[in-house]
Amino acid sequence: MSDSQVLAPEGPSAVGGGSTPPPTARSAGTPRRRGADWRKRAEIAVLTGPAIIVFLTFVIVPVVMAAYYGFFRWKGFGPPTDFAGLQNYVSILTDPTFHDAVRHNFTIVVLSLVIQGPVAILFALLMNQKIRGRSIIRVLIFVPYVISEVIVGTGWALMMSDTGAFNTLLAKIGLGNLEQSWLADPDIALWTLMLILTWKYVGFAVILMLAGLQGIPDELYEAAAIDGASFWQQQFRITLPLLGPTIRIWAFLSMIGALQLFDLVNIIWGQYVAATAGTSTMATYMYLNGHLAGNYGFGSAVAVVLFLISLVVALVYQRLVLRRDTEGALTGASGRKGRKK
């Protein structure tokens, strides 16, 4: 995603190594130095070996194998032999239920940005005022983010069911005509999902925005106030532009998360109902048609499609939006920058 930026700070130190002579010169040194060199190599091998082995075995190899399995009709037993070429991909891309899933994913991506972004910024602006109990408020709005998806899903599923607490509460406060089949009605279910997603993740966005707000120097507001700028003028002319990098990174994380959405949908709607309720996602499609159906070749192909879609979105976003920030925030460079503040 951010390869070029990740590499950038590494490049010089890895290749040139300013203070030390290049490796070839060192290995041709005296016997004693050669011994030290071997010792260093052994240290490097021992220290990085376990991490690299675990990482390659459980991240890189499976990803590469997915690309390979995707070309086979394969039930997951014995070596894949029934080569199918692009047949799996053709089936996926022509399957209307997959189209639905993709459409749901992208709807969720857009709605998440449109709903959670302004809400989070507004809340962060208000929370950034000097009020009592600010720290306790921060803790409490973060609670939904810390609770696991399964608990959130189980609780909300019970609340939003047809005879659940939400509908009876509406009836109690005299809004009985608003009662809906929140989870089952295909016209509404996606909005219910958005409500739950917003509830779960807006706290995270607020915390991010608050951290961003604290990086804005007070002097700017003082100067603006002296020049007669109103509160809202200050927010639009100072806060929003300077909060830009934070907003852009949050949007990136939100988009990628929305494309990978699985847990909540699977918990609340189950793998079979999601499609009819209009909340299926690419990941639930993969679980249903790959894992549960035992079609591992097909499931791997779905994984590849999911990855490529995420990658394209990430690259386009990186190109068009993130490049405006001088430093990519997912790289080590920003880690250093962050601590200096």
């Binding site: 130190s13 991240v59 408020i137 973060f142």
Partner: protein, 294 residues
């Protein structure tokens, strides 16, 4: 990140602002109102789960949104005396602790080399780990399941611990490398003059100095493992190996009629995460915002 310094500087600064009273008078009540609404919205569903566990099924059927009357404790007692709950709790604890220890140990060693050794291929190693950010578990889950099965690790906790460590490594390396690199070379020189080897330097100096970073990545690894649902769903099918998220999901479908007990089970499995969060709240918030925002 700058939380410790900002509030100190602010009060004096604000006094110099023109017309401060008008701004406060406008801001305060609305701000408090919104804060209260926000908190109520955040905590409402959580309280619904917790309080619901104190009701009986007939109470819940008659009035799903009411308060307990009378309060009953049998649901919680049942869950607390059931083997299902404690088995899942034990499995979750083992998996989360092992994942945290493994992530910190492997991540720290690799980051130390990347940050402080000079060798060809160092940049390559860093970008290898960084590339892992591109592969969230959702993308790799199907082939990952096949890999775990090939290794004979399905239905074992090792089958979720090892992949969790692997998927936690990219973030860990990206957070720790700048930390380790920031330790001044003078300290390393002083240590080596005093006779410490590179590894001695690692244990005596690097580890204590990078503790904040270590704690941050440890907490992230712990929470991710504790809440992980997708990986256990694929890897574990024997109820004896279920972690809490699977246990909750399983319990909810098994006793779907017994709503009150499901609510009790759910709220009890929420408690460890909430305690953990309240203990490390500053670190978690700081770590997440630091890791993301910089």
């Amino acid at each position: 990140m700058s939380t410790s310094t900002a509030p100190v500087a602010e009060p004096q600064a604000k006094q110099q602002v023109l017309r401060p009273t008008q701004k406060l008078a406008w801001g305060s009540p609305v701000t408090y109102l919104i804060a209260v609404v926000l908190i109520a919205a955040c905590l409402g569903p959580v309280l619904y789960i917790i309080i619901g566990g104190f009701r009986t099924n007939s109470q819940i059927t008659l009035d799903p949104s009411g308060l307990p009357s009378p309060w009953v404790f049998t649901n919680y007692a049942d869950v607390l005396t059931s083997a299902d709950f404690w088995v899942a709790m034990g499995n979750s604890t083992i998996a989360a602790v092992a994942t945290t220890v493994g992530t910190v140990a492997l991540g720290m060693m690799a980051s130390f080399v990347i940050a402080r050794y000079d060798f060809g291929g160092k940049g390559l190693m860093y970008s290898l780990f960084a590339a892992g950010l591109m592969f969230p578990m959702t993308v790799a889950i199907t082939p990952l399941y096949l890999m775990v099965r090939t290794l004979g690790l399905t239905n074992t906790l090792a089958g979720i611990i090892l992949p969790q460590i692997a998927f936690a490594l990219p973030v860990t390396v990206i957070i720790l490398v700048p930390f380790l690199r920031a330790i001044p070379a003078e300290i390393e020189e002083a240590a080596s003059i005093d006779g410490a080897s590179r590894l001695g330097f690692f244990w005596r100096m690097v580890l204590p100095l990078s503790m904040p970073g270590v704690i941050t990545v440890g907490i992230l690894a712990f929470i991710n493992s504790w809440n992980n649902y997708m990986l256990p769903l694929f890897i574990l099918s024997d109820p004896g190996t279920f972690t809490l998220p699977l246990g909750v999901a399983n319990f909810a479908s098994q006793y779907s009629v017994d709503t009150a007990r499901v609510l009790a089970f759910t709220s009890l499995s929420m408690i460890p995460a909430l305690i953990f969060f309240s203990l490390f709240e500053k670190r978690i918030v700081g770590g997440l915002t630091g890791a993301v925002k910089g």
